[in-house]
Assembly symmetry: C2
Homo-oligomer: 257 residues x 2
Amino acid sequence: MESLKVVKIGGKLIEDKQKLEVFLNDFVNLEGPRILVHGGGNMATDIASKLGFETKMVDGRRITDYNSMQVITMVYGGLLNKNIVAELQALNCNSIGLCGADGNSIISKKRPVKEVNFGYVGDVSNINVGFISSLLQQKIVPVFSAISYGGNGQLFNTNADSMASEIARAMSETYKTELYYCFEKKGVLSDANDDDSVINEINRKKYKELLDKKIISDGMLPKLHNCFEALENGVEQIFLGDATLLRRESIHTKISA
Amino acid sequence: MESLKVVKIGGKLIEDKQKLEVFLNDFVNLEGPRILVHGGGNMATDIASKLGFETKMVDGRRITDYNSMQVITMVYGGLLNKNIVAELQALNCNSIGLCGADGNSIISKKRPVKEVNFGYVGDVSNINVGFISSLLQQKIVPVFSAISYGGNGQLFNTNADSMASEIARAMSETYKTELYYCFEKKGVLSDANDDDSVINEINRKKYKELLDKKIISDGMLPKLHNCFEALENGVEQIFLGDATLLRRESIHTKISA
């Protein structure tokens, strides 16, 4: 099986022009087929507030109402996505910017209403492996914003970490898939206050140990949960690190079964 | 040669939800390969002004400065483009939303600075026929926003009418191509103040006659100029009309050599 790298870059890195440039340069130097998934950071919230739309929170969790979804479609699906594609083209990396509706590539279901109605938030239910593979075979790099398609003409805001892991899982049917999470830290930290306390390797045993000792910070919990789910579903290896993660010599956390 | 329909829908129609629905329903019922190109209307100007960006005009012509280009990328490339794709998917028409940077599909050159520096405005210089054909062969409808790629990471605002005619011209190498302009009028009018004074057919001779008699309104001149250039460069037939243009029984103007 051919190798495939699914790389997720977080919103905070995208907002930092210098770090984004470092990252994109490394990304185009990767060998073989690859997919980019990007988050959105705070830009959507900033623009929403300038447009006079309030960001609604319930129990400390953000709600994606109609106006928020419109702004997310503008900012993630338009501004960020198209500019990243243009930057990649400038580096001679042929790419294509997509949301889940494009080519019916990423289908989701509205997150069920329990205590909280998250609004226009969807959880991935299906990945169009055939369509994505056809782009990869044409040596075109798919660049996904974290917007999925819920059917019936509806776009949904989707967690970018989950989207990346769902893509990696689905693509592992036909590719030997590695998943990379680039975010603002060098990796999983054993001390949330010490950026240099990177744990180099985590396997399932170590993960359980870290959970038991409550060493993993709240923010990292869903990321790591995603990682082990992906490993159980065919993804070969997962790496977490900062904008330099794609470099061979980077300090990072490697996650393996 | 297989037939191909290149359809341009104007910004004013897109902003009218009811007319857009009529149009999209007819569009999905067309037979065979087709491409959609959409304008943006006033939404970008509205959003720019809400964000506190002034729309700059020189000699009555709009200038696309850095901030305008960011807003255009958001609104045309994101909001409008992705929502149109989602609507088409809901109608079982598999489509993909693109700007010129995507797949290096539509390359342009910055409009030369003469009396006016238009800023981030590009005129189409190359169409990636191979890439667009590969989508059509997969039965995926390309949906282009009027944003082209100028190289060096730069996106350019591009006239949607010209983009449609350039696409039609380029695609006519491999397809028998028809071009459709859907806008707010029923066709080319012999009396700008009478919406029912549609001229049913215009050929080159009639065009010259209309020009000589100054019957064509200023707004229609560049559209018709585009049309005859397209006809000279391989496009088979061109149709101009309103949201119902794609219906067999529509009142419209047909342009032929």
